[in-house]
Amino acid sequence: MLRHLLLRSGSSLFALLIISMIVFSLSQLSGNPVDALLPDDATQEQIDTFIRDWGLDQPLWKQYMTFLGNAMLGDFGTSLKWPGESAMGFVLDRMPATLKLGGLAILISVVIALPLGIAAAYTKGSITDNAAQLFALLGQSMPNFWLGIVLIWVFSVWLGWLPTSGTGSFAHLILPAIAIAWFQISALTRLTRSAMLEVLDAEYVKLARVKGVPEWLVICKHAFRNAAVVPLTYFGILAASILTGSVVIESVYSYPGMGWVAIEAIRGRDFPVIQAVILAYAVIYMLSNLLVDLLYVVVNPRMHHG
């Protein structure tokens, strides 16, 4: 069990290492880093200091080692677009906003998708089931930026209930969170439904009924406990796509989180910030997967002894 977790952490670290290489080569690929990182009107003296400071006269592997050493300390240099800000510091500054939005999106998708999936499976073939499936299909057939715009149009412009963009209050979070969540609700509903269908006919579900267990407990305790592993496995993917979703949606809603920073940094060719934001995303993704592994053990007692 512990070995399993250590193994997973090890492979996560290895993946991070690979990502760091990719991120490093990004700045190499895009031509001379001097052009990328310095303003056009830099003097020769500035260029020389820059080359020395950054070790650009060193062999590539040495440059990478320096980069890696700095990266591990969270040092990606200073931002070009937002002068005076350390790249990582700037990203970390925006991270809570994104985590808040992503967290709410995850909460919404779980709170809606699990009961919906369970109800759909339980009433298989009925109107409820079909309505749930339609709802799910709707979410999966709309690109999230488009859904974001539709939501703004309906709830902000037309009904005037919620702000169109920006940040500051809980109300600002609602629309972007829904825009990110809906696609996930669809996937999660369908997964939950099929996982539940598999266990609803199980003998142990019947045994629970034989014992006289009330129907809602039969479903939510005996059946769902065994079906939960499937949506949980999906949780890693969920976290990932909510992260990528945030990149698009934060821009649609001008919500100043990490995703918004990523887009702005790319626009401004702000390499230090781009590198910092990619690695920050990677770390969040790995941590959420590690969390899934832990939850997996909690839900699935067979693994205690595996």
Binding site: V210, G212, H305
Partner: protein, 330 residues
């Protein structure tokens, strides 16, 4: 076994179950009438698909929803009609007064919960008490089914137990609330022969202690011979013969029973290859005219194929009935 003097615990009258599917409807339980007495074991035998499990589910009122329903009949447990109870009232009966051991021990325990929590759940529902006493009663139930080291096993997950052990735990759950009637649906088919024999002995001992009635479902006439007092033979949703085990073995009145007995090597003296009954039971979709067994019956004549045989006494014996024209002719 003087079952006549004891009162019937379970009385089933004209029980009918209908299954409706997209392709059509059929009657997997067609007019069952029988009773089971205190301390008695009744066997239900028949080939696969003859409706044995459907009968059990109907008695528990746990038929598959939207697919099957009871259309007729009466089921009385200790004098109380079960078919008119509300679902909530029925839940209080299930597990407490009538319980069931399901067909597959390997999958009938919930893999996500410990043995103890699954036994205690039944106790908590029907005979609640303080936490400590629940645990000790659960350990008692495990002791009753002869699980070694119950204090440790109670905290084990089903995945950590052997097949025979799991079957015992399923038994412990079934008896934990001291039901009057237990239905055992082929509880031993997936176990090896020695474990199977141990389990059957255990069931008999439990019955002697508690006086519960057992409804034992199997397709193995050999088990019936060693375990049951009376037997119901099912064919295509009907009880085609019923009576005391000794009489039925000595003098089977229905050709199907005769054929079933012949398939058991140790009973028929037919050592060697296992014999099977030639032909197939009618498919549920088939419209049956006359005797359902006629296509496979060596004695079938024109009347058998056109008119369904009535249920009559076999050899004039009031304990022994059959539905076969040959018994009518005698």
């Amino acid at each position: 076994m003087n079952s006549q003097t004891k009162k019937p615990l379970l009385e089933v009258q004209d029980l009918k179950v209908e299954i409706k599917t997209k392709v059509g409807s059929f009657v997997p339980v067609n007019g069952h009438s029988f009773s089971v007495h205190e301390g008695e074991t009744i066997g239900i035998v028949g080939e696969s698909g003859s409706g044995k499990s459907m009968t059990a589910s109907a008695l528990m009122r746990l038929l598959p929803k939207h697919v099957a329903k009871i259309t007729e009949g009466s089921v009385r447990l200790d004098g109380k009609e079960l078919l008119t109870l509300s679902e909530k009232q029925m839940r209080k009966v299930r597990g407490a007064e009538i319980s069931m051991i399901l067909q597959d021990p390997q999958t009938s325990l919930n893999p996500a919960f410990t043995v103890g929590s699954q036994i205690k759940e039944a106790l908590r529902l029907h005979a609640p008490g303080p936490r400590r006493s629940l645990r000790s009663r659960a350990i008692d139930a495990l002791k009753a089914v002869k699980v070694a080291a119950p204090e440790q096993r109670i905290d084990a997950y089903p995945g950590e137990l052997s097949g025979g052990m799991r079957q015992r735990v399923v038994g412990a759950i079934a008896i934990s609330c001291r039901p009057k009637v237990i239905i055992a649906d082929e509880p031993t088919t997936s176990l090896d022969v020695t474990v199977q024999a141990q389990y059957l002995r255990l069931l008999r001992e439990l019955q002697e202690e508690t006086g519960m009635a057992i409804l034992f479902i199997t397709h193995d006439f050999g088990i019936v011979a060693s375990l049951c007092h009376r037997v119901l033979v099912m064919y295509a949703g009907r009880i085609v013969e019923s009576g005391p085990v000794g009489k039925i073995f000595a003098n089977p009145a229905h050709p199907y029973t005769e054929a079933l007995i012949a398939t058991v090597p140790s009973l028929s003296g037919n050592q060697g290859r296992l014999r099977t009954i030639p032909g197939q039971p009618p498919s549920p979709a088939e419209k049956i005219v006359g005797c359902p067994f006629a296509p496979r019956c060596d004695y079938a004549d024109a009347r058998c194929r056109s008119e369904a045989p009535p249920t009559v006494l076999a050899n004039g014996d009031s304990e022994h009935t059959t539905s076969c024209w040959r018994a009518v002719n005698q």
